[in-house]
């Protein structure tokens, strides 16, 4: 009999995770991912993909944020520990987050989720004279240019469809689909008419420095070094409201200069390229269920899952599971099929 047609708008890490969760959990649905850009051209592909929490997001219960983080971490850790790790581009990564001033919360809410969380020793901190405090832990690094194709494959195995196309209005989807899931990131500014979504521009460099194994992140989020599978990601910038997609030479030099102060050996690294991504900034991510009314008066459920700023990878699976729950609820509210 007829399947419930679900469309997921957006093919970044949030869109694909959400689509996989729905397609695998709800065989009665036919799921389509509709996006104008797929990997390797999404914002997620620029992300370093290190799974880490920040300060608690305002307006969302800490317990909920914690669940999003933990569900994501556990999901990725399981992949990292499996035979799939290489094919999925998910690997374990150990390193330090360093602070110029001792933070008020030295032990963040996600401290028990990552592996081996501890405060840095004085000996470790000795290498960073400008810094007074540090956290050492092992987490997961999710390399989106590898992870997203793996998710796409997994999605197709669950009979999911990938479709390239541009959506200018969620309304136009109501004719061909029964449930709309909006994972359009920055695109939600137009698609959901949400002026609270804004770009937070991030520029990074990829360099060849295979001797580097540990990550280093300055807690201000402007300077970081993340060794990956094939290259090291060094960054970065956080320019709110900046829509420029082209890399800025001056910024690249400044990024490298800051990173070399933390890791002098980077001066010997070969530059592989520069990338820019516009993080979908928002005061807090939007995850909720709504009804969209068509001009004909039909009401179509919409599940929003967008606005993750720099936390898209770190919350991807946990929020996908919660979006799945909302899709399930929407299914019950749909009119049933007609009977012969």
């Amino acid at each position: 009999m007829q399947h419930t047609r679900v469309v997921v708008v957006g093919a970044g890490v949030v869109g694909l995770s959400t689509a996989v969760c729905i397609a695998e959990a709800l065989p009665s649905c036919s799921v389509t991912v509709l996006a104008d850009r797929f990997t390797p051209d999404t914002t997620s592909d620029v992300a370093a993909g290190i799974v880490m929490g920040g300060a608690p997001i305002p307006d969302i219960p800490l317990q909920q944020q914690h669940r999003w983080f933990k569900d994501t971490f556990d999901h990725l850790l399981e992949i990292a520990r499996s035979q799939q790790a290489s094919e999925a581009g998910v690997l374990l990564s150990s390193g330090w987050q360093i602070f110029r001033e001792v933070p008020s919360e030295r032990r963040p809410f996600w401290a028990d989720d990552v592996l081996g969380f501890r405060f840095m020793t004085d000996a470790e901190l000795k290498g960073f004279p400008q810094y007074k405090f540090g956290q050492a832990f092992t987490t997961v690094k999710c390399e989106c240019p590898i992870y997203l194709p793996w998710l796409e494959k997994r999605f197709k195995r669950a009979r999911g469809l990938l479709k390239k196309g541009r959506v200018s209005d969620l309304q136009e989807l109501c004719h061909n689909y029964d449930i709309v899931v909006n994972c359009s990131g920055l695109g939600a500014r137009v698609l959901a008419g949400d002026s609270g979504v804004h770009p937070v521009r991030g520029q990074i460099l990829r360099v060849h420095a295979p001797w580097l194994k540990h990550f280093i992140r300055d807690s201000d989020g402007h300077t970081y070094i993340y060794p990956g599978r094939d290259s090291v990601t060094v960054g970065g910038t956080r320019q709110v409201g900046d829509w420029r997609l082209a890399a800025d030479k001056g910024e690249s030099e400044a990024i490298l200069e800051r990173c070399c102060r933390l890791e002098p050996s980077l001066r010997e690294a070969v530059r592989l390229g520069e990338l820019v991504g516009l993080r979908p900034g928002r005061a807090s991510p939007c995850l909720k269920k709504m009804l969209l009314e068509t001009p004909a008066g039909r009401r179509v459920p919409v599940v929003h899952n967008y606005g993750h700023a720099g936390w898209g990878v770190s919350f991807s699976w946990g929020m996908a599971l919660e979006a799945l729950k909302l899709v399930r609820e929407s299914l019950i509210e749909l009119p049933p099929p007609s009977r012969l």
């Binding site: 009999m1 399947h3 039909r298 509210e333 009119p335 049933p336 099929p337 007609s338 009977r339 012969l340």
Partner: protein
């Protein structure tokens, strides 16, 4: 309010799974079957069901009574009762073509694709006009030792669907100048199973060209149009079905669903209330379909009247009918 058949002392094990009315005024009625059949034709589904239940309790081996009870329960929007009755009919008389077709329709409605295909396969197998197709086709299913008279269960339900669809298309080609409305109905069901709604519409229209007064066909056409996103045309088909048979509860329910799809939520509510009221138009609440209540709640949730939604939750039909001015 309903008792399971097996709990009643005078029911044979064959009737378990069918939920009989506990207080049936027609219990010892003479001619219960004939009168039940008559009531069913007149669209008095409630009395028809009671009379036919009395008939099968009086003679549990009466396959015709089980058949009419099954088709009546389908019209009454009670799919589970319809399926149990039709299966009972087929246990007693495995080559009853009408029961096989009705069962295929009911199984399709509840999403049992594989079983629906098997029923349609049996329909060809037992149909004097078409059964030779199976022999010439060297079907794996034509083995006489196959007691179930079913094709071998294929690993994929969809491959059976393809096989049976080809069989029906081949049957239609045997004599292209003459339309067999039953064969077209089977095709319509198969195209519904494969979500080829436009082709299913063609098949039901072909059947209707031979039987324009068949309200069941009008409803099947309507449901196909609705499932294929053509709700406006569906409303026309249901309207036709209800003109021919005003007591046709299934079509009234379907009309309500199309109203939801068209955003006409108040009309949807009215239709569901009418259907529920037709079902209970007697002494008790025991005969109303839970899926009509569920659809009613969906329609009510789209009208911002929480107190009415609450009334639906507790099953207060009178309050709702008053609120929406539905005539009793």
């Amino acid at each position: 309010m309903e008792a399971e058949g097996q709990n009643l002392p005078n029911i044979s094990p064959h009737e378990k799974g069918y939920y009989f009315h506990t207080e049936n005024p027609y219990k010892d009625w003479p001619n219960a079957f004939e009168e039940g059949q008559q009531k069913s034709r007149e669209g008095d589904l409630l009395n028809a069901v009671l009379l036919l239940e009395a008939a099968v309790l009086q003679d549990p081996q009466d396959s015709e009574a089980w058949l009419v009870l099954g088709t009546t329960q389908a019209e009454n929007e009670n799919e589970q009762a319809a399926i149990v009755s039709l299966q009972r009919c087929l246990e007693l008389n495995p080559n009853n073509l009408q029961a096989l077709m009705a069962l295929a329709v009911s199984l399709t409605n509840i999403g049992m694709q594989q079983s629906a295909c098997e029923a349609l396969h049996s329909w060809i197998q037992h149909n004097p006009c078409y059964k030779h197709l199976l022999k010439t086709n060297n079907q794996l299913s034509s083995s006489p030792t196959n007691q179930q008279r079913m094709p071998h269960t294929s690993a994929q339900g969809s491959s059976l669907l393809v096989e049976v669809k080809e069989l029906f298309l081949e049957a239609a080609q045997l004599n292209p100048d003459v339309i067999d409305p039953d064969l077209q109905t089977g095709l319509g069901v198969l195209f519904n199973l494969s979500s080829e709604f436009n082709k299913a519409v063609e098949a039901f229209n072909a059947a209707l060209s031979v039987r324009p007064e068949d309200y069941l066909l009008w409803n099947r056409l309507g449901a196909t149009l609705a499932n294929g996103d053509r709700s406006e045309e569906a409303v026309e088909a249901y309207t036709k079905a209800l003109e021919l048979q005003p007591g046709f509860i299934r079509s009234r329910y379907n009309l309500g669903i199309s109203c939801i799809n068209l955003g006409a939520h108040r009309e949807a509510v009215s239709n569901f209330l009418t259907a529920l009221n037709q079902q209970r138009r007697s002494r008790s609440h025991q005969v109303m379909s839970s899926n009509i209540w569920a659809a009613l709640r969906i329609a009510l949730s789209m009208i911002d009247r929480p107190e009415l939604f609450q009334a639906a939750n507790i099953g207060d039909l009178d309050l709702l009918m008053k609120a929406f001015n539905v005539d009793i």
